[in-house]
């Protein structure tokens, strides 16, 4: 299905269009990361509707837009986004492969501290894996950590 020219269309409206016209895509990929020493590993799961938008192309804004909005929100005295137009008026991303979509999602939704330093220690603090590689039960969930046997790249 051809994506309408969405540049200038509110992102929310694009998502409504996608919900009507695209099939959700369940990913087998998971991103496991540790952002705090005293907390268990977190597992990021791509949303199936979001992933179908990423694979289809022409819907999602570039990831730098989210970084700009995050910078604004981190500024002292921030009360409200005034650059929301970046979401809606920037040229949307073209179609991505599933792997590219996962990379995009890491840059968008994983903590910047993890993205920037995941391979600087004795072991990686972020790993992309398949869901079958996660423990299949939730036993001791709050003690899950990334294995020490993994070497940092």
């Amino acid at each position: 299905m051809q994506t309408p020219d969405f540049k200038g269309t509110p992102v929310f409206d694009r998502l409504c269009w996608a919900k009507e016209n695209l099939e959700p895509h369940q990913s087998d990929y998971r991103v496991v990361y540790e952002d705090k020493l005293d907390e268990c590993a977190k597992i990021l799961v791509p949303d199936p509707n979001w992933l179908s938008c990423a694979l289809h192309g022409g819907i999602l804004p570039p990831v730098w837009v989210y970084h700009e909005l995050a910078k604004d929100e981190a500024t002292e005295g921030f009360t409200k986004h005034t650059r929301g137009y970046l979401l809606h008026e920037t040229e949307p991303m073209p179609a991505m492969t599933e792997e590219q979509a996962i990379e995009y999602l890491i840059l968008k939704d994983c903590p910047q501290s993890v993205v920037e330093t995941w391979n600087e220690g004795n072991r990686p603090t972020m790993v992309i894996c398949r869901k079958e590689q996660l423990p299949q039960t939730r036993e001791w969930r709050n003690a899950w950590r990334i294995s020490d046997k993994l070497a940092a790249a």
Binding site: F12, L44, V45, P48, W50, H81, L87, D109
Partner: protein, 121 residues
Amino acid sequence: MAGKLIADILEHSTAGSLDTSYVVNGSLKASFSVNQTANTTPLSSHNIASLVDTGTGQTTYNLTNAFSSANEHSAVLSGNDASTWYYYTLYNFTSSAATTAVGTGAHDVDRLSILANGDLA
């Protein structure tokens, strides 16, 4: 061919009129439901980019289209197993994310549902 209605005001013959901005602003802006016991498998969603399994009974959601501020980001949620309802709370609000936790001890539920509303960025 899809129909399109463009109007600023809806007027009833006797009950008065309503600005359509009430309809737009009052519509749901984000939602999802998830099975926490199956390692945070998304069941349905709208305006969600990703979910993060943050721990037992904890799920963080990240939005595709953020709200205009954390204060505008208001959400209600519920969690239940087959026969038990759980009280949930939300914390770590930003304009584009928040984290859920069970109000009475750590527990994963079969179905966690969230509805969020507010002005979008």
